[in-house]
Symmetry: C2
């Protein structure tokens, strides 16, 4: 089952067929416990038997170049971005292949926040940085589909059409009157759902701290030699 | 058909259900001609009737916050990275939904190289940056599957295992003896396939120039207020 999922992942579209990503499959409970700690102790990392970490990886490609009398120039931000895009495309192939086989999946956004910990635990060398993580396992509940913005909230025709106040009101209306939204406002003692995000879940302070940390990690992993310093 | 593809795209997993991305569907031939120019005049952009551009987008979410008495803090690098990951996951949902309906797709990596042009042509406001692009249409050829590295070239078990010279030789062997590889070496007058990449296709010089440009674009689009300057 895992092999089917991984086979689907590595068929993914990628940049120039360089396949500038790696996938780390972690089943070992001790290592998963360390990953769980780094993922802010989110339960599913311990509960689900398989953890996949998708990394931007120009290490392998650069090693190949060095073995083939070629001079690799992939220690820069564009190469990181290329590898990150390749890794995320592969991750979604894995996610859909897993769901097709009846498994449940959960992406863990904490992978970018705590990238330094995953580098340590998974022993990622230079030019390898984690960008997506998925927990995989049999579901023991069926929560139904999460709400999404309506089509015209996300899709633009021909060019980008900026949002008027009226459109914002319209596209967020259904989300704002969900029973779980009203519950959240009560729990968090907030006036609006947006405040739950800005004040509690994704604050400017945290976002800035994680930004500085991630850019520092890119430098340490060798991805910021852009020739401009 | 396009609506099925877009419906699949907007169902995609995303960070905190913020859906920090937008999809721009361009059919207009005049606008597609401008996109084609920016995509290094790659034929498929003109030939395929539909062009999808996937953007990291914290503009909509921030507008919503401002309308709801909440203070958005998404003008930083972490927020860009989050939106980019959300956008790429959605792009792969779109790609697979298109293929399932018998269409052909092609990702265009030029979208990050020339991001400034797409910002101009598609009129992307602050906090919106393109990260993936797909051309969609009926296929008029069936090129078969592209080669990929074997499973052990991309997958690591438990932790990252770095590549020895022997492993590099093994995992690149099949690619290196393909008839199209030998053809490429002759055409490009190179000793090794790796040199075709480092000297012609993805050079250090270009990668550095695109790195500096993309980081500048992140700044101009308002994604580099990390609080550290």
């Amino acid at each position: 089952m895992i092999n089917n999922i991984l086979s689907a992942a590595i068929r993914a579209s990628n940049t120039g067929n360089m396949q500038a990503y790696s996938i780390i499959v972690t089943k070992d409970p001790e290592i998963r416990r360390k990953l769980w700690e780094a993922h802010f102790k989110q339960d599913m990392v311990l509960q689900a038997p398989v953890h996949l970490t998708f990394c931007a990886d120009f290490n392998r490609f650069s090693q190949w170049c060095l073995c083939r009398n070629a001079d690799p120039g992939y220690d820069n931000f564009l190469s990181f971005l290329t590898g990150a895009i390749d890794a995320v495309i592969a991750s979604q192939n894995a996610a859909l292949a897993a769901e097709e086989q009846g498994l449940g999946i959960c992406y863990l956004g904490t992978v970018t926040w705590m990238a330094d910990k995953f580098i340590e635990v998974l022993e990622l060398p230079e030019l390898v940085v984690p960008v997506a993580a998925i927990s995989l396992g049999y579901k023991d509940e069926n929560p139904g589909l999460a709400d999404r913005l309506p089509m015209n909230g996300v899709i633009h025709r021909e060019k980008y059409m900026n949002y008027s106040r009226d459109i914002i009101d319209e596209i967020y209306h259904d989300k704002e009157i969900l029973p779980e939204t009203l519950e959240l406002l009560k729990e968090n003692k907030k006036e609006t759902l947006a405040q739950v995000f800005t004040d509690n879940r994704y604050t400017r302070r945290d976002n800035r701290a994680f930004s500085v940390k991630f850019l520092q990690i890119l430098k340490e992993q060798g991805f910021m030699n852009n020739g401009d310093q």
